[in-house]
Amino acid sequence: MVNARYLLMGVFIVIIGIIFAVAFFPSEEKKVKKRFRLLSEWVSKSPEENAFTLLQKMKDIGTLFSDPCELKASDESLSGSYTRQEISAHAGSARSQFSRLDLAFYDLHIALPEKKIAKVTLTSRLTGKSISGEQVDEIRELECLLKKIDNTWLFTQIEVVQVLKK
């Protein structure tokens, strides 16, 4: 009877240990996913957003990117290398054109070819309403490269996959 009680306690401790390990020592994939979650949260905008939140989000968005970060898109005017400050400024300027904005990521495929490099293929969907009342619904496939710098995963390169080439 005593042995059974010790056994149960042992199993309980192991389960608690596993939960603790999963919660406090997330895998690299989870850490990468969290960066996307934060990007989605900070880009998204609700109609009730106040000026303080707006400024904080603008500042926070830059911290997700390496300095510089490269953007590749079929639109030549968008492609290029951007500093954190430029990313924050562009994000703030783009967000100001919308009264509501939602950025969501789906189908994340994360590969870790090297210890500090993550390649992620995903679907991004941007929905919202511009200040002029126009509805926006843009879906794109993205290929992102993240590097672990100072123990933090940072977006180093974002490529918009060109499906159709005119």
Binding site: Y106, D107, L122, T123, S124, I139, R140, E141, V161, V163, L164, K165, K166
Partner: protein
């Protein structure tokens, strides 16, 4: 026995409708009038298992992830030259009859060669300006299949 039947039916439905015959809703007017906006269809994944997409075939092109597809028509294959003159399609300098294009079109597009292992896809509705229509060359690997009807 009942539970086993339910399980088998569920498994079959999951595999069939999840991977082989994927239901989709058409959003947009680019394939009108052949496929109207809001229509429902199925993407048959095995359509090009043993054959290659041919000119005039309607195909589902994987656009993003596994859920977003573009429904387009193949007008030219790898190695062919495609161009538009006053809304008429020319492939390798020869005019192609397109009975499925029923809306007026006045596109002009300089000649371009379709790369190897690619196809050139366009929607049937070309009534909008050429820059507003989503079309072009895509890799054959992105073709997920064709609509059931």
């Amino acid at each position: 026995m009942f539970l086993i039947r339910v399980f088998l039916v569920s498994l079959f439905a999951y595999v069939f409708f999840g991977y082989l015959c994927i239901p989709f809703i058409i959003q947009g007017i680019s394939m009108e009038p052949t496929y109207p906006n809001g229509g429902v269809n199925f993407c048959w994944r095995l359509r090009y298992l043993l054959s290659e997409p041919e000119r005039h075939d309607v195909v589902a092109v994987r656009f993003a992830g596994s859920r977003v597809m573009l429904l387009k028509r193949v007008v030219a294959r790898g190695g062919e030259r495609v161009e538009f003159r006053d809304g008429r399609l020319f492939v390798d300098g020869k005019e192609i009859e397109e009975p499925y294009v029923r809306l007026p079109c006045n596109w002009n597009l300089p000649s371009r060669r379709v790369e190897k292992d690619c196809v050139y896809v366009i929607g049937d509705n070309r009534s909008m300006p050429v820059e507003n229509h989503h079309f072009g060359q895509t890799s054959k690997r992105r073709i997920m299949g064709g609509p059931l009807w």
